[in-house]
Symmetry: C2
Subunit: 336 residues, 2 copies
């Protein structure tokens, strides 16, 4: 059996503030001979996601922090190139969480075979048809309890979760969907491609004022990918009984020290608001329901998406940093 | 029919920061002759409550602000002294929302007759057996979804709602109940009289550190009467899936300008927390359920209470200010 080399990105130190290349190293690993029950997979796409920044810290969280000196785990999709496992043949498309690596070898049970459907690019399994879409769906339904006729505000709306959330909200019957993004091009995309009824560039001025203008009748649901001034603006814009799904806080992921929270927390009481944070792990039971609905929407041509793709596993750290800075539109991916 | 005089407290200007006597005036009003369907009531107790501070501001809220130049409405209990209404005889005990006044005259429909049970002081209908107890019950059950075995933290625990909340939490099966209060005497009461398992004086030092020490295994439910540093401490102490019922924010009611929120909002996401604000208006349908359970607990001798009583309607403003400063233990009332 010939040697099977793998290029992998590992975390070697914990970032303070913005991560730098010094926090990572690229290593070449020679895999052992394939053992019974194992498969070898050549990745086609590797995912970089905002939540990964949190796992680079050594703090108590819903999942353990990334281990130092080990390959960064995360979503990826590839094809089986060699198999010693029944039911997972060479050529099969597999999703997995082995992360930032061009190739991977492990027990077949750590991979999930997904159908290779003509007209459905593999990369979509890492976003609109995968965890990203599920995140948007869970946030709107199980967390924020979105109802037909609601006005919905999505921050970070041009990102992977945000583009999915806006479309799902409209498909679920939202009366009005408002999005924020960080460039005029993204803002234009939101209304022209993603069905947002209104959008604004948060860099153009006060988020509170811009949201108030975009939502003259207030908002009922807020899908938060950003935190900070966006959450504060939402707390001001909420109608009575408003509900926020707190999914991400990219505004503060790379800050050091303490970040003051919203200055209008009292609105939570006086307007009877609910703020609920979530991470996907506790809601995976909703995946079948999501897959059924999303597959139908996608087949009906109701789902648009964008991908921002970096080429080469060696560019994964840059892709991650670009994504944290908002350089992506839609899903940020690394093509291996 | 002789003239029926009433001494009433009215709001004449909106306070900025702490209210002062200049924001109020005391007026003597002569009632008209009793009309058919009306009753005249001599109040025995008038309630002063933290939520009233919010209604003194002219801001959008779940209820309209108090009108300037009108008598401040609020909970009170008294006896009918003259009646032109069927079914509401002289001597009947009535609860009502006519507020800060020694006597009141209005349609019988604006009063609710309550039983005058031997051994049940009338004042209790304004707290443990009334809105205050219901607030504690609703916050723990409908809002925070308290479950048997939960560890519960109550801030402002020696106040009217707090003393009720601690006892109800234990009766509902809390494993451990922790309270904060503002004096050594109150802290002692919490553990000696109200069944709290641990208590601390928030003036003794950092709330975060004191709560962490009192709750070595974290907290599952937080009943917030205080806001500010207490909410921040709770966000640090929460176990995954923790739930906060935000009932009051006495720490910030009298601040002017903006008050920064908790510096650890990201915990809401990473620990999957839920913060839900509430005011009682939307939960009055739970009153019968509460009355049934609370009456049984009370009859079984399971419910302790304290009252801090000011004498004379002319002292209502001082009673209100004392309550805002935390001078009360248990329910603050004015005896007319």
């Amino acid at each position: 059996m010939s040697e099977f080399m793998s290029t992998q990105i590992q975390l070697v130190s914990r970032p303070t503030g913005w991560p730098t290349h010094e926090n990572f190293r690229t290593v070449a690993v020679a895999h052992d001979a394939l053992r019974p029950g194992q498969v070898r997979v050549r990745n086609e796409f590797v995912s970089v996601d905002p939540y990964m920044r949190g796992r680079m810290n050594d703090v108590r969280s819903y999942v353990a922090p990334f281990a130092l000196g080990e390959t960064i785990p995360g979503g990826a999709i590839g094809r089986v190139v060699e198999s010693a496992a029944e039911g997972v043949p060479v050529g099969a498309v597999v999703l997995h969480q082995h992360g930032w690596s061009d190739t991977v070898q492990d027990d077949a049970s750590t991979f999930r075979v997904v159908p290779d459907v003509p007209g459905v690019p593999l990369s979509l399994r890492l976003h609109v048809l995968g965890m990203t879409g599920l995140t948007a769906y869970v946030g709107l339904t199980a967390i924020a309890g979105m109802r037909e006729g609601d006005t919905v505000f999505v921050s970070g709306a041009a990102g992977a979760v945000g583009t999915a959330a806006g479309q799902i909200a409209k498909l679920l019957g939202a009366k009005r969907v408002i999005g924020s993004a960080g460039s005029p091009e993204k803002v234009a995309l939101l209304t022209e491609k993603y069905g947002y009824d209104a959008a604004f560039n948060y860099k153009d001025g006060d988020v509170r004022a811009q949201l108030a203008e975009a939502a003259p009748d207030g908002i009922d649901v807020y899908f938060d990918n950003v935190g900070g001034d966006h959450l504060e603006a939402a707390l001001d814009a909420f109608n009575d009984g408003g509900r926020a799904a707190l999914c991400g806080a990219i505004a503060v992921y790379n800050t050091t020290g303490k970040t003051p929270g919203p200055d209008n927390m009292a609105n939570i009481i006086t307007r009877g608001l609910t703020l609920q944070g979530f991470t996907l792990g506790a809601y995976l039971h909703l995946a079948p329901e999501f897959q059924e609905r999303m597959t139908a929407w996608f087949a009906a041509g109701e789902i648009s998406y964008d991908e921002t793709i970096a080429d080469g596993i060696e560019n994964t750290v840059d892709a991650f940093l670009d994504m944290m800075r908002g350089a992506n539109t839609g899903k940020m991916l690394v093509r291996v």
